[in-house]
């Protein structure tokens, strides 16, 4: 699929970039669209699963088990299976199912951890003051779980942005299409452009979530340095 590259070929040909701004913009929107829809659908499903897991504790292990299996299945393998099913085939549906399935474990674990992390005293106080179950969930539990939930959304989003490059193989690639194009033509410029923009998009979305969390958790700001965590390395997955 490739032939030796001419030694003189530069890493980036800027004239190619200039000539293809429309393609690059289209790739950006496709990448963003697929990421946003996948994370949104994944979040909706995970939220429901997490609420079930917290309400009926015994369901957590099996639910996390299924999500772990989905998470461990290589993306290409999942594409391979899904493409073989006519309803999915090459394109959006296959990409969406694969991308969503990778967000589930991350989001489920973080939402459950966030709900479990609500201070027991606050929860007991809410019950004792006469909150109904659903109202406590909406007004006390979920707001207090926001930092953990956002942490999960950040990991899921950054991971999804990276995986979208791979969905190029089933025809829905965003920046992956650029990379794939460069790969098949022995032409490094689109590879570099696609990679750099994909990383930039991941970082931008990550920063967006940090800002969003800052906005919706004013109480955590008030705590200031006491909230800590800046030097806390996240442990792998």
């Amino acid at each position: 699929m490739t032939a030796p590259l001419a030694a003189a070929e530069p890493l980036v040909r800027w004239d190619w970039v200039r000539d293809h701004t429309d393609d690059i913009t289209a790739a950006l929107w496709e990448h963003l669209h697929l990421t946003a829809v996948s994370v949104a659908v994944g979040f909706a499903i995970s939220l429901v699963l997490a609420l079930v897991a917290v309400r009926w504790r015994w369901t957590y292990e099996p639910l996390a088990g299924v999500c772990s299996v989905l998470y461990a299945i290589p993306s290409l393998a999942l594409f391979g299976v899904l493409v073989a099913i006519p309803f999915f085939g090459l394109g959006f549906r296959t990409s969406l199912v694969a991308l969503v399935s990778y967000t589930l474990l991350i989001l489920l674990r973080n939402i459950v951890a966030g709900l479990d992390g609500v201070p027991p005293a606050a929860r007991e106080a809410a019950d004792a003051m006469g909150y109904e179950r659903w109202r406590r969930l909406l007004q006390v539990d979920l707001p207090l779980a926001v930092p953990a939930i956002v942490a999960g959304l950040r990991i899921a989003t950054v991971t999804t942005v990276g995986l979208v490059t791979v969905t190029a193989l089933v025809g829905m690639g965003g920046f992956g299409d650029l990379i794939n194009d460069g790969l098949s033509r022995d032409f490094p410029t689109p590879i570099v452009v696609g990679t750099v923009l994909s990383v930039a998009l991941a970082v931008a979305l990550d920063v967006l979530f940090v800002g969003l969390e800052w906005l919706i958790t004013p109480w955590a700001r008030a705590r200031g340095a006491a909230a800590g965590g800046s030097g806390r390395a996240e442990v792998a997955t």
């Binding site: 606050a122 003051m129 207090l144 109480w219």
Partner: protein, 413 residues
Amino acid sequence: MRDRQASAPADVAVPVGAPPPVAEIGAEPGPPADAGGQVALRLDRLTKVYPGASRPAVDGLDLTVPRGELVALVGPSGCGKTTTLKMINRLVEPTSGTVWLDGVDVRSLPVHELRRGIGYVIQQAGLFPHRKVRDNIATVPRLLGWPRRRIDDRVHELAELLDLDPDLLDRYPAALSGGQQQRVGVARALAADPPVLLMDEPYSAVDPIVRARLQDELMALQRRVHKTIVLVTHDIDEAIKLADRIAVLNVGGVLEQVGPPEDLLREPATDFVADFLGEDRGIKRLSLLRVGSAALRRGPVVGTAASADEARQVMAREGTDWVVVCAGDRLRGWVGADELDRVATVADAEPRRFAAVVRADTTLRSALDVIVTSRSRVAVVVDDPHAGAAGASPDARYLGILTLDDLAEGVTG
């Protein structure tokens, strides 16, 4: 809690512990006869067996809480005191037995309505970290759907009542000290003006100095609001200080004794209660009694114009080597026997200031401390708003003297 000043007149030697207005134990089942009357809360053969537990956490507990009183549930860990408290607002559902609130079985009310009508204060306050202080306080009024104006007014009223700086209202709980958080917790519990307040170890997470201050504030608050309060604590001194009545529970939720602190200290019903109150039961009783309630002695008193001989006669009669010098009822100081040789009247001897003075509202426990550290083993009792560490002020009014014997009399008499 009762205002002890009012119930302990200064001239009564052995006061306190008036008989309770209501029977302690309700024997017959069914709603109390005086629904809406004297009894705010009645626990009727209340039992809780947790699933899988071999013995009950609470076993057939009968307890009556008169309106406007503070009842403390005390006992070692595992005695079911917190379980009992939580059965009142149904955070824990009883296995059998009934809780009557104002003559109504609490199970007959929707649980959320029931809880909105009962204040609840817990250890470390349990404030909502994501809500400002004002929103924490407004929690129950909002659940009850009060109009915004009324909620705002109520929040400010409570801030004033609990001595919370209005600036604190717009802070988040994390920015508050432990004591402030606990005050906000009480304000939140009182927000909808519930007649009954449940407090679960409210002060166990704050340091002793703050705890003492919060306890004093609660006593002052209760004098104004007259709530029916059930307080769970493992701290017997806290119970003695705050409670009108103490219920001592043994492991397994067995009620050992219930009664006013004075009664328990004077006559513990069982060895368990005696042990739980501690070996210094007598000393603890002293902290319930005020100097003004003890039988004060006139002591070796002379006027400023008294001659040296008169002073010597008073000393001989009283068996002391010093006399109190008074101008009318004003305390002028004391003069020792060896200073009388060179003078005509005691005033010429330049009476010295008493260091060991106590006021009528001092507890006998503090008086004991003054007596054992004084040179003459005597505390001088004065009516003196300005008395301080340096002793009596010039306008102190002399009331009498207090000795160790008098203290013992106060405890045993």
